[in-house]
Symmetry: C2
Subunit: 185 residues, 2 copies
Amino acid sequence: MVTVTQQLGNRLRELRQGRGWSLDQAAEATQVSKAMLGQIERGESSPTLATLWKIATGFRVSFTWLVSGLSFNPGLLEKGERLQHLSTTQDLELVVRFPFDPAVGFEWVELTLAPGAQSMSDAHEPGVTEHLLVIQGVLELQLDGQWHRYETGDTVRFDANQPHGYRNPGPDLLVFEDVIHYRGV
Amino acid sequence: MVTVTQQLGNRLRELRQGRGWSLDQAAEATQVSKAMLGQIERGESSPTLATLWKIATGFRVSFTWLVSGLSFNPGLLEKGERLQHLSTTQDLELVVRFPFDPAVGFEWVELTLAPGAQSMSDAHEPGVTEHLLVIQGVLELQLDGQWHRYETGDTVRFDANQPHGYRNPGPDLLVFEDVIHYRGV
DNA sequence: TGACAACGTGCGTTAAAACGCACAAATGGC
DNA sequence: GCCATTTGTGCGTTTTAACGCACGTTGTCA
């Protein structure tokens, strides 16, 4: 598990050593104490926006360049390590397979609906696209006020910027995967 | 004088209100307390990298998008407001006309050398370019081990990724402007 | 118009970023 | 081999980010 602060630390250390600067020199150039710079390089501190800006300025590097490329990198996932049961009612279960990660721009959830269960959703913001894959049972999806039927193995993609809903007509359990992509990149 | 934190605050408030979210909703989505979100929006707080990341994640927006476009904006400069005398020896003076700003990628300094004074500089990092304009006196510039002569009104641009030096052959005072551009954008 | 809920801000507390200083290891002459 | 300097880390203090709670305001519906 490599955290964002560690990534930034590595990047900063490479930048500094690539120029042959000592922590003292970097501290003078950036007006950030060398103790703090050392902690940031070691990933022991989560710098504020102000200090990030001072670092970028001191190194004559654009702020965007300094922080670009940072990504939430969970590394290899242990089996089921990050499963999160967000909401559990009697007839609906939502499991987060992969939580949202700004680096990839989507989240992956799995929904399980008991026979007869129904889940309605209001319109999301523009630019949100859902990708569904039915794993088990039968899914009925409402779009434009009309219900569409999908069976095991079927896939469907739709713009979530509209009211929509899922239901399980039964008689079996319904399980489907949902990869939700958000626009902001 | 619009600070970086204020810019971020405005951006965040637009993002939140554009979605019709309350501070409570945003706090639940981002796992950042609404008091903190309020302070950030008002530009009263300089959030850490970790909270910036949580905000981007909660809003389903890439981190880069959230912080891109931030720029150091000093607004209209009062006459001589930001003059900084960085080093003052007997025969050399350096005045910072415009400190480095990541938004534009350069800094503007003015150097004054007494007659006979000389200043040698090691190679900078690759991608650094200096632009000189002689205001007063005669400048001699060393490049590739060879001295070149420039008089009042002359201009010269060179790659600073090499040892170079300035000297004033006299007999008058030498004054020249130096716009130093750095690559990282 | 009064009651109620929702919204944003202020306040006191806690956790942690940031600083200055000093120490230990590494480096480099002479 | 020894001394002087430099480089990075650890420590105690100060500053401030971040939190939970409560208050004043605003708008809405009965």
